[in-house]
Amino acid sequence: MSLLEVANLGVSFATEAGAVRAVDGASFALSRGEVLALVGESGSGKSTIGLTLMGLTRRLGARTSGAATLEGQDLLGAGERELRSLRGNRMAMVFQDPISSLNPVQRVGWQISEQIRAHQPLVGGAQALERAVELMDRAGIANARSRVRAYPHELSGGMRQRVMIAMALSCEPGLLIADEPTTALDVTTQAQILAQLRELRERTEMGILFITHDLGVVADIADRILVMRAGQLVEQGNAEEILHAPQHPYTQSLLAAYAPRPLRAPRTTGAPLLQTQELSVAFRAGRRAQVQALDGVSLTLQEGETLGVVGESGAGKSTLIRCLVRLTDPTSGTIHFRGQDITKARGRQLASVRRELQMVFQDSHASLNPRRRVEWILAGGLRLREVPRAQWRGRAGELLERVGLRVEHLDRFPHELSGGERQRVGIARALSCDPRALVLDEPVSSLDATVRAQVLDLLARLQAEAGLSYLLVSHDLMVVRGVSDRVAVMRNGEVVEVGATEELFSSPQHEYTRTLLASCLKLPGQVRSAV
């Protein structure tokens, strides 16, 4: 008998706009010792399946149909008490965002032991805590004994997730549902957590339902794959089969989106456009501590090229960008733009620099004023270029068309646009000043894979058309690889290596670069086309 059997599962929610069907007739089975990956983009219903199996959608007013059984026991029709005895005990769930998924005012050890004592009431407090220490240790947390008394915000993202895993495993469940467990983590941490899950599967014969949008992760860990789209299961099968020979057109397009972009052909670039020399930024954190966000960073962006800056969180990428666009003042070092020293530029000089150097932000949701329509958002840049008011609407419309949107979008609010559309508006806004160079901060990170490729194509086209130079910052190596002429690798505020994309990726010099590349999850196709 399979561990988990789901037959024709349907889940719908009642909303202001009527009933919405989140999951529409999904059927699959999960065996012991197997990792089943549930893949889909945002809105596909994959998380809903996980939550519904745990019975956590009942409170949200979900209506379910079909059947789901865990080792023969009905999950959908079970009463609250039955379900409670199953939750955390025979089936457990790990969530995506550990900072908000752990109670912020309770110590982590206490939260783990709480679960143990809920299902094994005969276990005493001290004993449960001991067990918590053991579990944390096995989950790979160093100094588990002292860490057990920590509060969630005192731990790093990776450690918090390990705590969540330790907690989920505390009663040795047969089924583990992991909902995007590594999405919010760094690449290197992600690799470690995945390795741990693999080891777990081998040791305990646990069945894992792994929910994710990231095909790279899927390639790394899954035995079988389920592909979901708009609530429906469009394809399922062995990982090998699906990754190498997808049948359904949607799966094919998904894989295509992950296909590595071809490297850029070597091109001639012009004079140095933007240069930093020994740029350093130090922050006061707390009373005496100083954080060195940037430490002697020297980079050059040449005219017409795309320089990719890669690094994990804390590497200093955001600080670098904020310095370049003069949102922050550097503590020492210089920045030159077209030969002029703009390090302490103010007033008129700064205004003229601003016109030439613009920025595209990461989170399109937060970078567009939610209370303003698109037309108004674009008009800001036009006004600065002293375009007469009467021409604003026309010019704004032109900008939209350049980025692949339609004139109708002028009257929309940001919340009426999709993620990809919002990002295009962000790009249009940056272009409204008619700049020479763009600084892009994680421009595609919050987008779905299929949309990602489109936006990157757009950026390439715009660069060719207008002769723009790009400084693109990202944590995602594959993105950077596909768009950059040269790449700089950052870590802890320093640049550890710079070089032409092809060379850097095929023969990295610095050890950190090598680690980074190794942690990077590759789809089968990618391994082959490493160059």
Binding site: R87, P104, V105, H153
Partner: protein
């Protein structure tokens, strides 16, 4: 930690100084007319008025008066204009009714406010929630003195169940103390119960939709445990600081009106009567006292908040 406390203390002192200055200006400087004339009485001769002026220092420059008055306040030697009694002694005598009123009401509104708020949140959208919301809204909309007067009329005069005002010290007659305080407590608490019930309802509903509550359920904990250990524990934290500030506000403000209606002769009523007599020193001292209490309680509340919420502790 020391640095933080020192800075906080400095801030508090600055605020208190500003308050004392402002109070002094309001009472000594702004009122139209000559305090000496007021004090000397209607039938005084100009010479007598001049004597009063010199005796009380009204002929000295403003900052001089300020410093002298402040000196007297800190010394405990402030004397009322019209009654020649030591103000601070009088205040001490008037404290018991005010403290009884504030503390009693504070306990009542905290208890019922939290109770109604939690009940409302748990049964959100259903009949109990709606009824409690109506009760809360009516409570918030009813001025305390109106309610007090009604209670006094119906329970005091008509039904003769409870005394008609006045204060009986706890030490002398506990039952009497209780019956005399019951209506004032109720009148004062009703509005606060309404406010707290709604604040708590809102907090609890917010907390219930947090991710970590979902995790708690995913762990298989009983609903009761989820509610008490996770939801309530976190929702009540802001209530603590709210209560501290409201308590201080009541001692300084809300108490006056109720004390007047029920003739409790507390600090508030003393201040109100002094104001009516245009008798400045008592009002000055009472205002300073209350402002002090608010500022101090504010700091205490902040510290308590930090003790309860570990995230705040480290942000220092």
């Amino acid at each position: 930690m020391i640095g933080f406390l020192a800075r906080r203390l400095a801030g508090m002192v600055a605020v208190l100084l500003a308050i004392s200055l402002l109070t002094f200006l309001i009472f000594q400087v702004i009122p139209g007319g000559d305090p000496a004339v007021r004090m000397a009485g209607r039938l005084a001769t100009p010479a007598q008025v001049q004597d009063v002026r010199r005796a009380w220092g009204f002929d000295r420059p403003v900052y001089d008066q300020y410093l002298t008055t402040m000196g007297k306040v800190l010394d405990g030697t402030v004397v009322s204009y019209s009654q020649q009694i030591n103000v601070e002694d009088e205040i001490v005598r008037s404290l018991p009714p005010t403290i009884s009123l504030a503390l009693g009401a504070g306990v009542i509104w905290l208890f019922f406010g939290v109770l109604f708020g939690v009940l409302s949140a748990i049964t959100a959208g259903r009949l109990l929630d709606r009824s409690l919301t109506v009760v809360a809204l009516v409570g918030i909309s009813t001025p305390a003195f109106f309610l007090g007067a009604l209670l006094l009329y119906y329970f005091g005069y008509r039904l003769e169940l409870l005394p008609l005002g006045g204060y009986v010290p706890l030490t002398r007659d506990p039952w009497g103390w209780f019956t005399h305080m019951l209506m004032p407590w109720l009148a004062l608490s009703v509005a606060f119960i309404g406010v707290y019930a709604r604040v708590l309802r809102s907090n609890v509903l917010d907390t219930m939709s947090e991710d970590y509550v979902r995790t708690a359920r995913a762990k298989g904990l009983s609903e009761r445990r989820v509610l008490v250990r996770h939801v309530l524990r976190n929702s009540l934290i802001p209530i603590v600081s709210l209560w501290g500030l409201d308590f201080a506000a009541v001692v300084g403000g809300g108490a006056i009106v109720i004390e007047s209606v029920f003739d409790l002769h507390g600090v508030g009523q003393y201040a109100a009567e002094s104001i009516a007599r245009l008798d400045v020193p008592p009002v000055l001292v009472v205002t300073l006292l209350v402002a002090c209490a608010v500022v101090v309680l504010g700091a205490v509340v902040d510290i308590l908040y930090a003790a309860l919420d570990p995230r705040i502790r480290l942000a220092r």
